[in-house]
Symmetry: C2
Subunit: 320 residues, 2 copies
């Protein structure tokens, strides 16, 4: 009987789920829309029915060991999604309690997507056997999962590890959270786009990036341009790496990780982003830490990492 | 038979030690010079002899449960003092191994002074029963002890929790660590003195603080002046609280503590420092944390807290 976990990743647009074994093999995976369901109960019934349908397609005998869920503003302690800005359902959603009605007796755990990514790295990826590391997810925003002594840092309220909202600049760029100058307004797929537009305003340098509207420009286009030597794209990566490097140096002074893993769309730029980040991080580290902290891309495939990470929540739980 | 711990606080000038029970009562305490011993072995022999002498003065029967030591750059994992800038002995000192030769079989633990202060707060002070909190020590420099899920964060190399060296300003004030713009160059007893001198240079405001040389001015004088309404002193505290508040907001985004305790000379200014710090921290917090994090002065007496903290290292060890 193969032991498996149901991993569920709730995103603003889609909810992906997969049936995952301990090695990170995804036996089956599928998705439903998240955004089209205004009502949480209707969404939940659909998701539950679809998962059952997917499970029924597996021919080999399986034993479900638990359900791990990653969701924006997912609270590990309370099993709730709380005031997630990108989801239709406002206030506090008691997701784990609801899930337990359908799967009584099973371990069911919820955390946010960046913590799930860190758990995925720990169970299946480059952080196997590591006690202290940080995963930074560079998507539309910047998320972080901080691991100390082998465990995710949840903190007093279950919401620890929000490095995307540490303060870069007083009265800096407006952030979706309501503050200004947050790290993710500079360092993320949308942050680097803002940096490119600032450079386009300031400079007269010729660049293909002048051909795109703000809405059309993607971080992938900026990465492609940088690879071809476009000066504005390269400068944008330099600035992004500088800001990220300084802030990672500060994060090191908090928890002294062995490795920092970068994950997500913008991290696909590879050394174009990693090299300046590494240089500025090292330069701004308290000397006692210098030369000790590795900066790497995530060892996980981008495709289904969120589902894998969500499933890792249960494997991690069963380990301890 | 009364169970006691020997707590030792190694400072640049003096080494203080005490015989401490579980409630934090100091049965005996004493000190020797640190700075006058150029040779570590001579220092150590003196310390050991003096401790024995002090133990012999206790009439009631006692049982020594262990020895806890706080020292600058004390490494918990390795039991070493490594390249401490304020001590005579350079390189790596294997203090715990040395101590074990004299007290075989006893638990002997070493950490840095700020971690010891955090443990003191946990065992004897305001953090009893708290799982997640931070202690900031505001002495000549700024130290920090970060507690996550009931344990000090030591990190990968045993040197985690150096918030004094996170980056405030690019090319900012020169720091003793060799970097520039570190938090402790702004927020500490010496940091606020630098801030006062900057204000004296910039402004024509009349203030008694113009009567002192840089060497003579102390943070206590600045505190006294602020209490009497001196505008430069008050502005210096406002600036100090603003910088500290923003950086504490960032620290909260890392580990989400329940309470942040301020300790040490500068913290004795009380609300003159706490009020601006609280306002700027709250303003710069990611909204999810707002209204949840308390900022307080340490609940411990200043007098022998370092010795108490060092002893707490052993009580904490025996608890787990």
């Amino acid at each position: 009987m193969k032991e498996v976990v149901i991993g569920i990743d709730i995103g603003g647009s889609y909810t992906k789920y997969g049936i995952v074994d301990f090695k990170g093999n995804c036996l089956r995976e599928n998705f439903i829309s998240t955004s089209k369901y205004a009502d949480f109960d209707v969404y939940f019934d659909t998701l539950q029915t679809e998962i059952e349908e997917t499970l029924s397609q597996i021919n080999d005998p399986i034993k479900i060991m638990g359900i791990g869920i990653g969701a924006p503003n997912g609270n590990y302690y309370r099993g709730t999604i709380e005031n997630a800005p990108n989801l239709n359902w406002k206030g506090t959603i008691a997701l784990v309690d609801k899930m337990k009605e359908y799967y009584p007796g099973l371990p069911i755990k919820l955390t946010n997507d960046a913590n799930a990514a860190a758990l995925g790295e720990m169970i299946y990826g480059g952080a196997k056997g590591m006690k202290d590391f940080i995963v930074i997810t560079l998507g539309t925003g910047l998320g972080s999962g901080i691991v100390v002594d082998g465990n995710i840092v949840y903190g007093n309220d279950g919401f620890a590890g929000e490095l995307g909202h540490i303060n870069v600049k007083h009265r800096g760029r407006e952030c979706g959270c309501g503050k200004r100058g947050c790290l993710e307004t500079y360092v993320s797929a949308s942050g680097i786009r803002r940096t490119v537009f600032k450079l386009l305003a300031e400079k007269v340098t010729d660049t293909e990036l002048r051909n795109y509207s703000f809405k059309d420009l993607t971080s992938k286009m900026i990465t492609e341009a940088a690879k071809k030597g476009d000066p504005i794209a390269l400068e944008a990566f330099e600035i992004t790496g500088r800001i990220l490097g300084v802030k990672l140096a500060d994060a090191v002074a908090c928890t002294s990780p062995e490795t920092i893993f970068l994950f997500g769309g913008l991290a696909q730029a590879g050394e174009i982003l990693l090299e300046p980040t590494r240089i500025y991080m090292e330069e701004n580290l308290f000397p006692i830490y210098r030369g000790k902290v590795k900066l790497e891309r995530s060892h996980l495939q981008e495709t289904n990492v969120a589902v894998l990470g969500a499933s890792a929540l249960i494997w991690k739980e069963l380990q301890s």
